[in-house]
Symmetry: C3
Subunit: 154 residues, 3 copies
Amino acid sequence: MNSIESRLKDLGIVLPDAPKPVASYVPAVKTGNLLVVSGQLAFEDGVLASTGSVPASTSVEAAITAARRCAINGLAVARSSLGGDLGRIRRVVRLGVFVQCEAGFDAQPLVANGASDLMVEVFGEIGRHARAAVGVSALPLDAPVEIDFTFEVD
Amino acid sequence: MNSIESRLKDLGIVLPDAPKPVASYVPAVKTGNLLVVSGQLAFEDGVLASTGSVPASTSVEAAITAARRCAINGLAVARSSLGGDLGRIRRVVRLGVFVQCEAGFDAQPLVANGASDLMVEVFGEIGRHARAAVGVSALPLDAPVEIDFTFEVD
Amino acid sequence: MNSIESRLKDLGIVLPDAPKPVASYVPAVKTGNLLVVSGQLAFEDGVLASTGSVPASTSVEAAITAARRCAINGLAVARSSLGGDLGRIRRVVRLGVFVQCEAGFDAQPLVANGASDLMVEVFGEIGRHARAAVGVSALPLDAPVEIDFTFEVD
């Protein structure tokens, strides 16, 4: 068991099976030393624990949890794309965080930290990444958070 | 005529002339083996066939058509940037899809498929890409869809 | 003083100190020859000159100014990440521009030009970049504009 898998175990994080490719787009594409992961929703056992915009329908706390789950799902995709070996990740490069929220909500960074903190918990120093976090009016399946990922890999 | 041009012909797709560089930004930038294409709207002969948000002002079907047109325009830009040779595309890496929609609309993936399916029709297996699709409250020129593209090229 | 610093001086642009890394994300990550800069707000001496959506709370003119400031802050981050030497930038590759606006506002490109024009003023031909500009319903700290940056560097 490599050190990242060991770290996941210590954190009590079980990565789900990566989603199967659907239709014309795929969960991730590797180009050169970059692994580009599609926007992830916070599916857990096939369902979204929360839906609707922040903060009226989804609390900030629930949105942070959803962001963390998006990150776990992003790691599941990455692992599957890297032949099962997350140790091939050299650096978490960037997270693009979209929070479904009402006008006037301005704590997108707080929500995004749910994903950012997970990356650092798992990867340590190489988990620190660039990030853009914005608020949007609607997301697929009424999800409160969608996050895409760019990793540097070997 | 290379195989991609031949495929476009079979599909009855005529790529327009690529838009001219406007002001301080340009239609595409090549960096290393990546071709980064600016956000494309669904212009056809200089006009947008549909405007306004989905689904009230633009139907889902019209938005799918617009997404397909964004993809055609993205290919026109790519071809122009690659000296006229789409055969230099090794992989469609990523589509960033922004759908102008009302709060509560959650079928952005369905709209985005208009572009994703086009990529696979044209490029086959190397057309399969990573994707993020989100809903936004407003887009340039009241367009219903904007899509940016990243290609791996030689 | 290299030519870019000289150009900044001629333009009367003083880059601020780059923001310190906060929490789990960082201002920029270098991967290969790409420098990926986090979403920047229009902070000036620690405050946002304008807040709220365009055009009701923030005028288009103020939003253009904010976009220009986001670009200055992006350059400050880049300089700090490149050991103080903006001359290491070979090309401005891409700007991702998010404008907080009301539904129906469709002049995001005009706002984004505040940043795009700055890049060309500073870098000349290599400042011309790919761009996506969209309207969103909410941004961190109620900022009117957020912009992320990708540079090609040596």
